[in-house]
Subunit: 379 residues, 2 copies
């Protein structure tokens, strides 16, 4: 490591069901905003780190061509739901290692024109053969929590109520709403016990960040640490739900590298593709004990105005979950928060923020990927 | 850069039309062979760098799960036809920079169960709207060569004759054959002037390499240099065909970094998805002047037994072109050549080898990606 890296600027498109808008246009909006925010010219970008899951080959270079970023290494990552955060992580490593100075991290996904139902594994995969679409995998984790760990359906629903309410202050969110717990629980059943309003939407969006060497200027957001790993073998007889241990391992690695404890973090963006996901994540990050994630959200601790707001943007549940764009959407939100530029959803006095993204789908391992990034305000 | 990296072992599956074989099985064959060849245990692998274009999300982690490689960073790249070579390049950088010691580079693609015709861009893309499937893009380049640069149809066909003949000595190649120039030219027209036998096959395969710090042991293959870039804006009025300048730029960068000239290279594996591709590439790498690529193949210079054999494996034309696996298939071939283990296709006395892969599809830029790697025998 030859130096510290900082976020110089961020940008996103709207997160929305916008099947008629070309991916290239969404990508352009996000990257152009990030470059302008960073005051970095396109021809100063030395390399691009992009994330997409279902993006057609060429969508990234085509977007860059329209931005005037050509002739440089373009590294596009697929890492399930963590693709965008993986791209950010690798961009960060490339700066801290001295490989590049100015780089663009970028995530893009257009889903609504291609998918109508949940993302379903191939029938030739073990999960596909068992009908284990993603809502089912999380549904099983949710049942484990209901039956073995004392979390209540109402607490689970509180995650959806909180995050959709948070999104009311986010003009780029897809599914802001003022719901009651009863409404969440009464919505259509998707994968028992997860109802429709406990599941994120598919989405079309792009998000981006410009990184470079930390200079300590006001407006920069320092990348204090990051960690990335795939899961170890997972046995369903474990007392820990799928993904718990992976988030715990990667979270601990990142926090230790940052030299801070989870109690020091002022604001979080974490992977709430389903309500149970946020409960698992807050526990695994150490914000409470195993089984305490339900009480944590119920207490208001993780709400806007609480001690440690989680998903002030609305999270995946309310901002929407365009897979490859999600991680950089989380990064952009925390960057805005740490610069005091989050408008009506500002977490006052936020100095340290944490992004966590989980990528999954392979049931025999504890998640395909988890990435945790710790960010810090400058100046 | 904290040190030099070497290839410790390589492996591949068969390259074939094998739609009934799961990608995970092909991946397992390649990676297990590479690990055994390197005498590196799966749990010594610290990170995985994988390439695939159309691989379903999860295919890489699922393969690794079966190998016992879990809990480590898994970085999966999409970079068009250069996806596998991109993964290798990034694995190499991760070792030279001291980020990791033992890493696995890995490429996988299963195509024949999903595609029946050529790979065609989306109708919403400019190329798709114009019907510019890959054979058409290369067909236009071929016509430029026929009409403006004096290359003859017979010389173009010679590339297919040579590479399919080379593959007769490669038991893992998909389309080895002893053809005449007349047969190649008489085969069905695909994209004027490119006939069927001048086009590579889609394929199902995987390939892998284990890298680590160079120790100078016999059997290692040192990575002398590598370079990676995307293309700059391309204007069809240029005197240089699509991709020429990108290959020239990346090739020059890699050769200069290696401290050798192209005349020093003993054996090449280059991107001959279509016959004209090899002609463009040999020119752009500096083996001959612009327009001289036809005469070069006709002279026998690039044939097995010639001064500088190109594509002794059969190349993409005869080994087959499973997109994400291609680059690591090229790497494996050069590694076998430099270790004197290429059997009936051994280029005698080969000490320096070069791999070049071109990834394209976006017509407004001079290629989505090009990667060039220079490898050297040890001991």
């Amino acid at each position: 490591m030859s130096g510290r890296a900082a976020i110089k600027g961020v940008g996103t498109s709207h997160f929305a069901r916008q099947p008629d808008v070309a991916g290239v246009r969404l990508g352009w909006q996000a990257a152009a905003e990030a470059l302008a925010d960073a005051a970095v010219a396109p021809d100063a970008i030395e390399a691009v780190f992009a994330g997409t899951v279902f993006g057609e080959p060429g969508v990234v270079t085509r977007t860059l061509q329209h931005l005037g970023i050509v002739g440089v290494p373009v590294l596009t990552f697929e890492n399930a739901c963590a693709s965008g955060t993986t791209a950010f992580h690798e961009a960060w490593v490339s700066v801290t290692s001295g490989r590049y100075e100015n780089v663009l991290a970028f995530g893009i996904e257009t889903m609504t024109a291609h998918f109508s139902g949940p993302i379903t594994p191939l029938a030739s995969d073990p999960e596909g053969a068992q009908g284990l679409a993603m809502p089912c995998l999380y549904g099983m984790a949710a049942n484990r929590y209901l039956h073995c760990l004392g979390v209540t359906p109402q607490q689970m629903a509180q995650v959806a109520v909180k995050n959709r309410r948070h999104a009311l202050a986010n003009p780029r969110a897809q599914r802001a709403a003022r719901h009651t717990v009863a409404e969440v629980l009464a919505s259509r059943m998707i994968a028992d016990p997860l109802t429709l309003l406990q599941c994120c939407d598919i989405s079309d969006a792009a998000a981006a960040a410009v990184l470079g060497p930390a200079e300590g200027r006001v407006g920069e957001v320092a990348v204090r640490a990051g960690a990335l790993a795939s899961g170890k073998h997972w046995d369903h007889r474990s007392e820990l739900a799928w993904g718990w241990q992976l988030v715990a391992d990667v979270g601990r690695t990142a926090l230790e590298a940052a030299g801070v404890g989870v109690a020091d973090i002022d604001v979080f963006e974490v992977h709430d593709a389903f309500t149970i996901g946020e409960i698992i994540t807050t526990e695994a990050l150490g914000m409470c004990d195993l089984g305490g994630g339900g009480g944590l959200v119920e207490s208001g601790h993780t709400s806007q105005g609480g001690a440690q707001p989680v998903n002030p943007s609305g999270g995946l549940l309310a901002r929407g979950h365009p897979l490859g764009a999600t991680g950089l959407g989380q990064i952009a939100e925390i960057a805005w928060q740490l610069r005091g530029r989050a408008g009506g959803r500002q977490v006052h006095g936020a100095r340290l923020g944490l992004v966590e993204t989980m990528g999954g789908g392979t049931s025999g391992i504890d998640g395909n990927a988890c990435v945790v990034i710790v960010l810090e305000a400058t100046g």
